[in-house]
């Protein structure tokens, strides 16, 4: 008898157990709650914020998104996604993916999980799957809430943009889901980076902050056109490519490139995380 009869390595740390572990934490509840709150705050801002602001000439697609935000539920959801994509989603994804391993390490509970024993690769895989699940959930909650409150307030209308003709509501919903999917893929970079840092450090804050910091750094570098073709390999270079889904027919070339970059980065970061975690001495 090499093990306890009821022990099976593949049954340790069930996904459900990890989901519960994270769900009971305040930061999970707050992050998800804020995803519900944000569209409502934006809606209230539109309602009471004084309508005809002479906004600074509103150039570019972003300005037009502001103008169109109140034209229907789809546009409102689009606007909410657009304002969140740059920073809020990054922080939330970094929080969900950067925290789980590092916080277990800092509580000292990581070594007890490993002594159960939860195989290290399994522990990491379960933590990763659950973190990605929560990240996706946050994104979906944000979209669904925005769509719901936007539609209740502004009605169900075709999705408009100044880039191209209005898109019929049915197809517009598909495009919106496409945008959500693309954002989810792009966020894999943040997820990968935060997760790697989470494995490398015992400080959850360091992992979350580090991932956000590097993301911002990449965004800044991407603004420097003098860097030329180096910019195309930056993880944030294609982060706005989802705007291509607003034109008819949708322009997916940049989305494809963005997805390739994101998947490459995420795979690299996760591979490093697994490679490191399955070999290192747990010192926490």
């Amino acid at each position: 008898m090499s093990t306890v009869v009821s022990y099976r390595p593949s049954a340790t740390l069930p996904i459900r157990a990890e989901v519960k572990r994270q769900a009971s934490r305040r930061r999970t509840q707050l992050a998800l709650g804020f995803m519900v709150l944000l569209p409502i705050i934006i809606l209230l801002a539109f309602e009471f914020g004084g309508g005809n602001g002479d906004d600074d000439n509103g150039g570019g697609a972003f300005g037009s998104l502001v103008d169109l935000a109140t034209s229907g539920g789809l546009n409102f959801a689009l606007f909410c996604l657009a304002v969140s994509a740059g920073f809020l989603l990054v922080v939330v994804v970094a929080l969900f993916c950067g925290d789980p391993v590092a916080s277990e390490a800092s509580w000292g509970s990581l070594r007890y999980l490993l002594a159960i024993p939860v195989p290290r690769a399994r522990l990491l895989a379960v933590k990763l799957v659950v973190a990605l699940g929560y990240s996706l959930l946050a994104l979906l909650i944000l979209t669904a809430t925005a769509l719901l409150v936007g539609t209740l307030r502004y009605g169900w209308h075709p999705m408009g943009s100044t880039i191209a003709a209005a898109i019929p509501a049915g197809e517009g919903l598909l495009r919106l889901l496409g945008i959500v999917a693309y954002l989810a893929v792009i966020m894999l970079v943040v997820a990968g980076l935060a997760f790697l840092l989470s494995v490398l450090t015992d400080a959850a804050l360091g992992a979350v902050g580090g991932a956000v910091l590097l993301w911002i750094l990449s965004s800044i570098l991407d603004q420097i056109t003098a860097l030329g073709s180096v910019r195309t390999v930056l993880p944030t270079h294609y982060s706005d490519a989802w705007l291509g889904l607003l034109s008819t027919p949708p322009q997916v070339d940049d989305l494809v490139k963005g997805a390739i970059a994101a998947i490459c980065y995420a795979t690299l970061f996760w591979s490093l995380a697994f490679w490191r975690f399955t070999r290192k001495d747990i010192t926490s």
Binding site: S2, T3, V4, S6, Y7, A11, L13, P14, R16, A17, K20, R21, S24, R25, R26, A61, W107, G108, S109, R111, Y112, L114, A115, P117, V118, R120, A121, G160, T162, I163, A164, A165, A166, L227, G228, S229, V230, Y238, D240, A241, L243, G244, L246, S247, T248, P249, Q251, V252, D253, D254, V256, K257, I260, I263, T267, T278, R279, D281, I282, T283
Partner: protein, 911 residues
């Protein structure tokens, strides 16, 4: 714990990463060595009607750096107002492809001499012939025969017309690629869209821009003094051109002299003589030379059997170079054409016609995105099919504003490249000055490519009228778009005063490429003014009525495969590769793990723990455990005793699978321990203090822990564990509010969940009060029954002595003593004797035959009795007159332990 030190290995690997990153960045930004060389030349050529004059041209010859013998040449002409420098990018790219490229500044511009004759066959075309002679004399240039270089002529706009005119005048030209150029200057600048013989409407803005451009280039540099004999009104324009412009711009109509002059500079006159295969590239966003100009050129050249190919792109004099995909396509077509007809490489280009249509904005750089299409043959202006769209609207009066002010806005000539504005709602009509005729929403999308036609009836009290016909695409929300800002100017004469008597004329609108989506409406607007054109100064009110329908030519092209689609395959391949890689890694891991974990040492199968020669050295060289070996058998409570830093915790970490040993191994029931070894499921542990989720209660923590084991709740024995923890109601409080001792007890309870056969506890009594310690001793002793075993580490001698059945004493990573506690705690052969006179006592005792006498402080001796009884020793001392203060028997464990720590109260270092 080992600190992150700046070890040699880290420095090296860090430097390597830094160097690699720097090298990659450097490689990416390092400029390539150009594949060509260039030299500026001043070339003097004969020019003028009878070659009577000579002019010096500012030229530059690009030669491929690695050329094999003589190379074919390309004459690359610039646009109006440019110089040889404005085509340097194209020149470099052609030189890179193995052509000798000769660029020059046309006479009248930049650093060249002479005057602007508007591509006159007597001047600019002669110059180009002179350049052909010059090329033929160069040793680098490939020749067809003596004096006849192998040469293609490429140019846009002004340079494009030169290419056509030169090919019509000089048979030495082997191929031409004229782009965005004119067929007939008269038609271009006096545009007439109706099928009538009346002179067209003067395109004043463009004409003014061009004239101003030529006049502004008075001299290459700001001239120190005015050039003698130069009319400031004319700048560097030749006198006849200048006079023609002034006449045209003043009256809005051309006299015969002007017509003849402009006609002379038009390729239309020489098309029948062009034998050089011609690739015509024309822009769809061009209000100066619209697509119809290239159409006329294509028809004229093709009539003689010369190969002609036509391509449209989304750009032109208004639209600029167009989106990158269009630029790439045009470049590809140009190179393909030259390679076949000039260089003699590659298959003959097909006759297929390619064009592009705007798809929207690029999300990243805000530029336009177009989709390319191709058809087997050039369809001309009338498309391959046609769709009639009914128009409704009564005859409407429209006012011609005096002096054409205010005027409707359709395009912004000369701003160049502002495509986005042309696509948006730039066009504006003035109320009262336009009539509008609208269709019902179209039921299915119409892919317009070509020149729409519509019937128009106009009545005018003056007998003449100038109107502008525009085609708007109006979407569901009412936003209207004037495709590419193109309008059809119409000038009619001999009109009746009443609309009933007006005869219909057919108006051919400028060719457009546009998809009118289903649900959109088509609106035809007839306006009296346009800022780009010269309209009659006299106010008048016309009545206009368009026919009942508009004919839209359609072309259904095959989408050109976007080279970017390759990335989709890359993405698919990437995902597949990752999936495969993951599967391989998982399979290999599973196989490896099974093999490793199946290794069992039969002889230890029933022994809870065997540690053999364990060693742990950290990467920075620190050795935490030198060599430790011991055994924990069933029923034993083994104490691992040692000072702080002796290596106890490191040993326990290895037993937990947290740390990899660098030598030796640990066997649990015969299975070798390694991280994640399933045998760990039979071990319960408390190592280095408790670790709990602070936001959960003690009970929830135990539950969460047990859930993580994936084992049934019945196996956990929660009740027993909670009883051991003894937390009472506090078990439902959050653990972050627990005291140290409470947490410690909960951690021991957690270690005992599932009643593991081997319990490993690191300093279990840390933080407990004396009654709890006593209770804990009982618990541990009781636990080690039924074949279970307990390993306890401690730095307290008393604890081990009172709790354990066996003890292992470690120091500095090595075992100092081990065995049953009874045995080592039992009487030791040595005693401590406190005496009044140490030297005397030593002498007495030595004479008794004891093993050793060691002074212990100023008034005590430690004596290894070696069989001598204590009573005999005391009697002998007393007899010798030495006072014996006390005799203390010593125990072995204490001996061992004090021997370790007694000498050095600082312990054995930070381990």
């Amino acid at each position: 714990m080992p600190a992150k030190r700046l070890t040699r290995r880290r420095v090296i690997s860090g430097s390597v990463v830094l160097v690699v990153v720097a090298a990659l960045v450097g490689w990416a930004v390092w400029p390539d060595r150009a594949g060509w060389t260039s030299a500026d030349e001043r070339i003097t050529v004969r020019t003028g009607p009878a070659d009577a004059e000579s002019v010096e041209l500012d030229a530059r010859l690009y030669l491929p750096r690695d050329r094999d013998g003589r190379v074919p040449a390309v004459l690359l002409a610039h646009g109006f107002g440019g110089t040889k420098d404005s085509v340097s990018d194209d020149a470099e790219s052609l030189a890179d492809r193995g052509y000798a490229v000769l660029t020059w500044t046309a006479q009248g511009f930049g650093g060249s001499g002479g005057q602007i004759h508007l591509d006159s066959p007597d001047y600019e075309v002669r110059d180009a012939q002179g350049l052909l002679d010059w090329l033929a004399a160069r040793p680098e240039i490939k020749l067809d025969e003596t004096g006849d270089p192998r040469v293609g002529v490429v140019g846009g706009s002004y340079g494009g017309a030169l290419a056509l005119l030169l090919a019509g005048q000089d048979p030495r030209v082997d191929a031409i690629v004229p782009s965005i150029t004119w067929n007939d200057l008269n038609k271009a600048f006096l545009q007439q869209s109706a099928d009538t013989t009346a002179t067209g409407v003067f395109k004043k803005t463009w004409a003014g821009l061009y004239f101003g451009n030529g006049a502004a280039t008075l001299a290459p540099e700001p001239a120190a003094a005015p050039v003698p004999g130069q009319d400031p009104a004319c700048g560097r324009f030749a006198a006849d051109i200048c006079a023609a412009y002034l006449q045209l711009a003043t009256t809005g109509t051309a006299d015969q002299k002007t017509l003849d002059l402009l006609r002379k500079s038009s390729p239309a006159t020489v098309l029948g003589r062009i034998k050089a295969p011609t690739l015509l590239i024309q822009g769809a966003v061009d209000t100066l030379f619209p697509l119809s100009e290239a159409d006329a050129n294509a028809k004229g050249i093709a009539a003689t059997g010369t190969p002609v190919r036509v391509a449209w792109f989304t750009g032109g004099h208004d639209g600029g170079a167009g989106p990158q995909t269009d630029q790439d396509r045009v470049k590809y077509l140009t190179v393909q054409w030259l390679d076949h007809y000039v260089k003699g490489e590659g298959d003959a280009p097909s006759d297929s016609f390619t064009y592009s249509r705007v798809a929207g904005f690029s999300a990243l750089d805000r530029g336009l995105v177009t989709n390319g299409y191709s058809t087997d043959a050039y369809p001309g202006m009338s498309g391959t099919g046609r769709t009639q769209v009914s128009l409704a609207g009564p005859a409407q009066p429209v006012a011609n504003p005096p002096n054409g002010n205010p005027a409707a806005l359709s395009s912004l000539p000369g701003t160049g490249g502002r495509l986005s504005e042309l696509l948006g709602g730039l066009a504006a009509d003035i109320p009262g000055q336009h009539a509008s005729f609208q269709s019902t929403p179209v039921s299915s999308a119409i892919e317009v490519a070509g020149a729409p036609t519509v019937q128009l009836r106009v009545a005018s009290p003056t007998g003449e009228a100038t109107v502008f016909v525009k085609l708007y695409d109006v979407d569901e929300s009412g936003a209207k778009t004037l495709s590419a800002g193109l309008v059809a100017p119409v000038r009619l004469t001999g009109l009746p005063a009443s609309i009933e008597q007006a005869q219909p004329v057919t108006v051919t609108l400028p060719a457009i490429v546009r998809r009118i989506d289903s649900g959109h409406t088509v609106r035809v607007v007839v306006a009296t003014s346009d800022q780009a054109f010269l309209t009659p100064a006299q106010p008048a009110t016309y009545t206009v009525q368009v026919g009942s329908s508009i004919t839209l030519p359609t072309v259904v092209g095959t989408p050109i495969a976007n080279p970017q689609t390759v990335w989709r395959w890359v993405l698919g391949g990437l995902l597949l590769a990752i999936a495969l890689g993951l599967a391989v890694v998982l399979l290999v891991r599973r196989r490896l793990r099974r093999r490793r974990h199946d290794e069992t040492l039969e002889e230890y199968e029933d022994t809870p723990l065997v540690v053999r020669g364990l060693r742990k050295a950290y990467a920075d060289g620190f050795v935490a455990v030198e060599e430790i070996s011991f055994t924990v058998a069933r029923g034993q409570v083994v104490g691992l005793l040692g000072p702080n830093g002796a290596g106890k915790t490191t040993t326990l970490r290895v037993l937990m699978g947290l740390t990899m040993p660098t030598g030796g191994d640990a066997l649990v029931f015969g299975h070798r321990l390694m991280p994640g070894a399933p045998i760990l499921s039979r071990v319960g542990a408390l190592v280095e203090g408790p670790g709990f989720l602070p936001h959960l209660s003690g009970y929830e923590n135990l539950e969460a822990y047990w859930r993580a084991t994936g084992r049934p709740a019945a196996d956990a024995h929660f009740e027993e564990a909670l009883e051991i923890a003894g937390l009472g109601d506090s078990v439902h409080r959050k653990t972050k509010k627990y005291s140290h001792g409470m947490r410690q007890r909960l951690a021991i309870a957690q270690a005992m969940l599932g009643l593991p056969e081997l319990l490993v506890l690191d300093e279990p009594t840390d933080g407990l009060d004396p009654p709890q310690i006593a209770e804990m001793r009982r618990v541990l002793k009781r636990y080690a029954t039924d074949g279970r075993a307990v390993l306890v580490s401690s730095h307290l001698l008393a604890e081990v002595e009172q709790t354990c059945t066996h003890a292992v004493v470690v120091n500095k990573g090595r075992i100092v003593a081990s065995g049953p506690v009874d045995e080592i705690v039992g009487e030791s052969p040595s005693v401590q004797i406190a005496v009044s006179d140490v030297p005397a006592a030593s002498a007495v005792l030595s004479s008794l035959g004891v093993k050793s006498v060691v002074p212990d402080g100023p008034s005590a001796l430690i004596v290894d009795m070696n069989g001598t009884s204590r009573s005999e020793a005391v009697a002998s001392l007393v007899k010798a007159g030495v006072e014996v203060d006390r005799v203390v028997p010593r125990r072995r464990l204490e001996d061992a332990f004090l021997a370790l720590v007694g000498d050095n109260s600082r312990g054995s270092g930070d381990r």
